[in-house]
C-alpha cells in the first residue's frame, strides 16, 4: 500500500509561485474598481471637532469622501466578542466619529479612480483635532490618576482574572529557595510581507456582496459581514486568494476592512483597499506587550513547591474583533510551568486599556512569554541548586507516562513527551561537547551561552466561548468528488497561506482513499466552493482538517467500492482500492479508478442492476476531544554575546517537537524554522517603539528590525511522534511551536552567556543597548 502520510513530499502548488504567477489580493482582476485610501488619526487620543471634506471631494478623480456619518446607517459598529466574562468593552465604528483613541485609527476614507488620487484626497481633508491626554505607557496605565484611554473610564483596567488556586503563604517561608524575577516584553507585530487588503463589490440590483480579502477564514468573514452590514448571508461570497503570510494578523477583521465593504455598499461600485506598510504597522494587530512577575518556591530536593505568575497586558484601545485581546495575557499565565510537576500554582492576569493599536492573536498567542518566563526561572532554580539546567528539567518534567493529567493551572493535558524531546535535543546538540567548547571560549574571554526552552502549545481550538458572536465555528467541512478522469477534487475549509495545508490534506486523502497523491487536487478559500467551516487559526490544519480528510477519504472509498461492486457484480467487501486500482481480493479482473469513474459518469446502463453510484462525499467534522490539542517541544540556542558591543551572534538553533503523527516532515520542519525566526525576532530585534505621547516612531521596515538571512543561524529540527490518542490520524498542530519555543531559548542562552559576567537581562528584545546596560557599561 502506498503511504503518503509521513512522506517528505515537496509542494506541487508552489510552481506557480516560483514563476511569479500567484494571484494575491492586489493581483485579482477586477473591472472598474475604485481605490480607497484612509485618513487615519495622527494622534493617540484626540477629539474630532470638525472634518472638512469639500476640497478633497472637488479633486478630479475623487468619487466620494466618506466619514462616519455616511456609514452610520449601513454599519452600526461593534463591541468586542466578549470571550472573557467581565471584560470592559468600548464600542468601535468602522470610521471614528467624534474621537480617535489610537494613532492609525481610520477616521475618513476617499474613493477615487487611482490609489494615488485617493491619497491626494486624504491629504486634502482637513480635520480640526483637539488632542487629549493620552495613555500609552503600560507601566503607568493602572496608576491612580492615569489619563483614561477612553474619556468615560474610571480606570484603565479592562479585565482582571485569576488562574489556579491560592498558595499557602507558609510555602514561601518554608522553601529552601524563593526566586523572583520581573520580565518586560515589548510590542511587536506580525508583518506578513503581503499587507492586508480587500476588494469588495456590492450589486444593489440583487443585494449581493462579493469580497476578495487577504484572510484565512472566508466563511467567518461572510458571517461577520452579514452581521456588520445587515446583509443576507446567503448573498455574500468571500474569496481568500493567495495569501502572502498571515501569522494571525489576517484572522482578525479590521475597521478599515469593514469600512471598505460598507463603502462598496454605499456607492454600489467595486472598491479596493490595499494597506501600505505604514498602515500595516499602525493598524494591523500588535502583540506581546506584557509585564510579568514570576515567583518560584523551590524545595531543597529541587521540587517546585509553588509558582506564582502575574501578567499585566497592554491591549490597546479596544479588545480585538473577533476574539479577545485578553487571550494574549491569559495564555501566558495559564501555560506557565505546565511542562513541570508543580505542587501549587497561582496566577493573575490584568489587562489595561491604552491609546495604542489593538493587541490581537499573533502566532503563538501568549505562549512564547509563558515559555520564556518559565524556562528562565527553571535555569535560575538549577543555578540555586547547583545542578545542570537539563538535569533539573528532566527531574521535574511531568513524566511522559503520566498523561493524561491536569496542570496546576487547570489545563487538561494529554500525550506529551517532554523527557523524550529533551533526550533527543541533547543528542542532536551533543551537549557535553558543546559545554566543553563553551568553557574553552570562556577561558579566552569569549562569552558563549547555551539555552534550553521547553514548552506546551495548545493547538486546534475547538469550542470557543461565544462562538456565535465571533462567528467562529468549531467545525470544518469538505466535499470530495471524483471526476470522469478519475482525479479527485477536495474542497476543504482549512486554508492555505504557504504552510502546505493543501499538500498535507492531499496526502491524507490519497492514503485514505487509495489513490496516487498526484490524482488529488485540493482547493480552499472560497465560500462558494467549500462547505461552511472554520478556516485556519490556532494550528488546526493538520489535527482537525487532516482528521476530516481522513474520514471523508474513507467514506469516498466506501462509495467507490460500492460502485465498483455493482459494475463487477461482486460484493464490496471482496474489493480493495490501492494506488488508483480496484482489485478483487481473491484475484481476477479488477478495474482502474479512472475506468470506473468514466463508466459512472457516462455509462449509466452498466449500473442499472445496483444502487445509484455516488462518487462524491460531503462531510463536516468538529472534534469533541477533551480539550484543545496540546503539543510539546523543546528548543536550544547557542550564541555568543560580545561584551564590548552588546551584540548577539546566533551560532546554531535546535528544535525537537512532538506533533503526533507527522503528515509531512519536510513541511513541518519549515513551519518550525519560520516560527523560530519570528521568535528570535521578538527575542533580539523586533520592537514597536512608541513615544511618550503614543506615536509609533519606527513604522517602516527600515526601522522595525526583522530578522534577515545573515542574522539567523542554521536550525536543526528533530521530531518525536506521540500520536494524539483521540483521533484516527493522530496529528497535532505544528504552526506555532517554533515561535513559542524560540523566545525562551534565546533568553536563557543570552543569560547563560552573561552569567560569568555577573549580569542578567529579562527585557525583550535584548538589544545591544539593553545588554550593555545589563553589563553596567552604559
Amino acid at each position: 500500500m502506498t503511504k503518503n502520510i509521513g512522506s517528505a513530499r515537496p509542494r506541487d502548488d508552489v510552481r506557480l509561485l516560483l514563476d511569479g504567477r500567484g494571484t494575491y489580493l492586489d493581483d485579482v482582476p477586477v473591472t472598474g474598481a475604485l481605490h480607497v485610501a484612509f485618513l487615519r488619526s495622527p494622534h493617540a487620543h484626540a477629539d474630532i471637532a470638525k472634518i472638512a471634506t469639500a476640497a478633497a471631494a472637488a479633486l478630479p478623480g475623487v468619487v466620494r469622501v466618506v466619514t462616519a456619518s455616511d456609514l452610520a446607517a449601513i454599519c452600526h459598529g461593534w463591541g468586542s466578542s466578549q470571550t472573557f466574562p467581565g471584560l470592559v468593552e468600548r464600542r468601535q465604528t468602522a470610521l471614528a466619529a467624534t474621537r480617535a483613541v489610537y494613532q492609525g485609527q481610520p477616521v475618513a476614507a476617499v474613493a477615487a479612480e487611482t490609489r494615488a488620487i485617493a491619497e491626494d484626497g486624504v491629504e486634502a481633508i482637513e480635520v480640526d483635532w483637539r488632542p487629549l491626554p493620552e495613555m500609552a505607557a503600560l507601566d503607568h496605565a493602572l496608576e491612580p490618576g492615569a489619563a483614561p484611554a477612553h474619556g468615560d473610564l474610571a480606570s484603565n483596567l479592562a479585565y482582571s482574572g485569576t488562574i489556579g488556586a491560592n498558595i499557602d503563604p507558609a510555602i514561601w517561608k518554608e522553601a529552601a529557595h524563593v526566586l523572583e524575577e520581573s520580565f518586560i516584553f515589548h510590542r511587536v507585530t506580525g508583518v506578513p510581507l503581503e499587507t492586508r487588503g480587500v476588494v469588495a463589490s456590492y450589486l444593489p440590483a440583487d443585494g449581493s456582496l462579493t469580497v476578495y480579502q487577504s484572510h484565512t477564514a472566508p466563511h467567518q468573514l461572510r458571517s461577520l459581514y452579514a452581521m456588520h452590514l445587515g446583509l443576507d448571508e446567503g448573498r455574500i461570497h468571500v474569496v481568500t486568494p493567495q495569501v502572502g503570510g498571515s501569522f494571525g494578523v489576517k484572522i482578525h477583521l479590521y475597521p478599515d476592512e469593514i469600512a471598505t465593504c460598507a463603502i462598496a455598499r454605499l456607492i454600489g461600485r467595486p472598491v479596493k483597499f490595499i494597506a501600505d506598510r505604514l498602515e500595516s504597522f499602525t493598524a494591523d494587530i500588535h502583540a506581546r506587550e506584557q509585564r510579568v512577575r514570576a515567583r518560584v518556591a523551590l524545595g531543597a530536593d529541587g521540587r517546585f513547591l509553588a509558582w506564582q505568575v502575574d501578567c499585566l497586558l497592554g491591549m490597546g484601545a479596544f479588545s480585538t474583533h473577533p476574539g479577545s485581546s485578553v487571550q494574549e495575557g491569559d495564555e501566558t499565565v495559564r501555560l506557565a510551568a505546565t511542562p513541570y510537576r508543580v505542587d501549587a500554582f497561582a496566577g493573575r492576569v490584568d489587562v489595561a486599556f491604552q491609546n495604542k493599536t489593538i493587541v490581537g492573536q499573533y502566532r503563538g498567542v501568549g505562549h512564547p512569554m509563558a515559555s520564556a518566563v518559565t524556562e528562565y526561572m527553571v535555569d535560575r532554580s538549577a543555578e540555586a541548586l547547583g545542578v545542570l539546567p537539563e538535569e533539573l528539567r528532566r527531574r521535574n518534567y511531568v513524566p511522559d507516562d503520566a498523561y493524561p493529567t491536569t496542570s496546576a493551572s487547570g489545563l487538561p493535558l494529554d500525550a506529551l513527551s517532554h523527557r523524550k524531546c529533551l533526550d533527543e535535543i541533547l543528542r542532536l546538540m551533543d551537549m557535553p561537547a558543546l559545554r566543553l567548547a563553551q568553557a574553552a571560549f570562556r577561558a579566552k574571554g569569549v562569552y558563549r551561552g547555551i539555552g534550553l526552552s521547553a514548552f506546551i502549545e495548545r493547538t486546534a481550538t475547538n469550542v470557543p466561548v461565544n462562538a456565535h458572536v465571533r462567528k467562529a465555528t468549531a467545525q470544518d467541512g469538505v466535499t470530495l468528488h471524483i471526476d470522469p478522469s478519475g482525479s479527485v477534487r477536495a474542497a476543504i475549509t482549512v486554508t492555505e497561506q504557504g504552510q502546505g495545508t493543501h499538500t498535507a490534506i492531499a496526502q491524507v486523502i490519497a492514503d485514505a482513499l487509495g489513490v496516487p497523491f498526484e490524482r488529488v487536487t485540493v482547493i480552499s478559500g472560497d465560500s462558494a466552493a467549500t462547505p461552511y467551516g472554520s478556516g485556519i487559526r490556532a494550528s488546526r490544519g493538520a489535527p482537525v482538517g487532516g482528521e476530516l480528510a481522513l474520514k471523508a477519504g474513507r467514506a469516498l472509498r466506501r462509495n467507490v467500492l460500492a460502485a465498483a461492486a455493482t459494475l463487477l457484480q461482486v460484493a464490496p467487501d471482496d474489493l480493495t482500492l490501492d494506488n488508483g486500482t480496484i482489485l478483487r481480493r481473491g484475484g481476477g479482473r479488477g478495474v482502474r479508478l479512472d475506468e470506473l469513474a468514466e463508466a459512472v459518469h457516462f455509462r449509466p446502463q452498466l449500473f442499472q442492476h445496483g444502487a445509484q453510484p455516488n462518487l462524491s462525499v460531503a462531510m463536516h467534522f468538529g472534534h469533541d476531544w477533551p480539550t484543545l490539542v496540546p503539543t510539546n517541544g523543546i528548543q536550544a540556542s547557542y550564541l555568543e554575546v560580545d561584551a564590548r558591543t552588546g551584540m548577539v551572534r546566533l551560532l546554531h538553533h535546535w528544535a525537537v517537537d512532538d506533533f503526533g503523527t507527522l503528515i509531512n516532515p519536510l513541511l513541518a520542519a519549515e513551519q518550525v524554522r519560520g516560527g523560530i525566526a519570528q521568535g528570535i525576532g521578538q527575542a533580539l530585534y523586533e520592537e514597536l517603539l512608541y513615544s511618550e505621547d503614543g506615536q509609533l516612531t519606527n513604522a517602516t521596515l527600515a526601522d522595525y528590525l526583522l530578522p534577515k538571512a545573515s542574522d539567523l543561524p542554521d536550525i536543526t529540527v528533530g521530531h518525536v511522534e506521540t500520536p494524539w490518542p483521540h483521533s484516527e490520524l493522530g496529528a497535532k498542530g505544528a504552526g506555532e511551536a517554533g515561535t513559542t519555543g524560540a523566545l525562551g531559548a534565546v533568553l536563557t542562552a543570552v543569560n547563560d552567556a552573561l552569567r560569568p559576567l555577573g549580569a542578567k537581562i529579562t527585557e525583550m528584545p535584548m538589544t545591544p543597548e539593553r545588554i550593555l546596560r545589563a553589563l553596567g557599561k552604559i
Binding site: V14, L17, L18, R21, E194, G245, A709, I715
Partner: protein, 157 residues
Amino acid sequence: MDDLVVVSMTVNGRAVRRAVSPRQSLADFLRQDLGLTGTHLGCEHGVCGACTIVVDGRIQRGCLSFAAQMEGHTVETIEGATASGRLAALQTAFRERNALQCGFCTPGILLTAAEFLADNPRPIRDAIRTALSGNVCRCTGYHAIVDAVASAAEALS
C-alpha cells in the same frame, strides 16, 4: 491630473511604449499597466526586496524607480526570467527544498540569488546569507532558502 510622459523601454525582450504618470513607480507600471504581477510590493520604500527586478542586467528595486526614468532601458521581471529558463535550476531547488511558503518574497529572492550565483558560482553558506540579506522572507527562517541556493549552485556547476 498629472501630465503624462511617453517612455519607451524593453520589458522581457519586447519593446514597450507607454504614456505614464511621472509619479508612477516602475513596479506599479509593470503591475498595473503591463499586468506583470509577479513583481510584488511589500514595503514601497526599498527595504523588503519583494519588488526586485532586473534593469540593464543588474537587480534593482522596482519601487524605488519611476517608470518615466526607464527611457531606453531594458527591464526583466520574474515572468521574463522564468520564460528564459535561466532560473530553472533555482526554481527546482526551491521547490524540492521547500524554500518558500507564501511565495510573496520568492520572485525577488530568485532574481537576487540568480545574480549572486552568476557572480559567485561556488558560494559558501555565509556568503549566500549575506547576499540574501536585502530580501525579507517572513515565512521560512531562511535556512531552506540557503540550502536551495547552495543546491542550485551545485546543480549549475
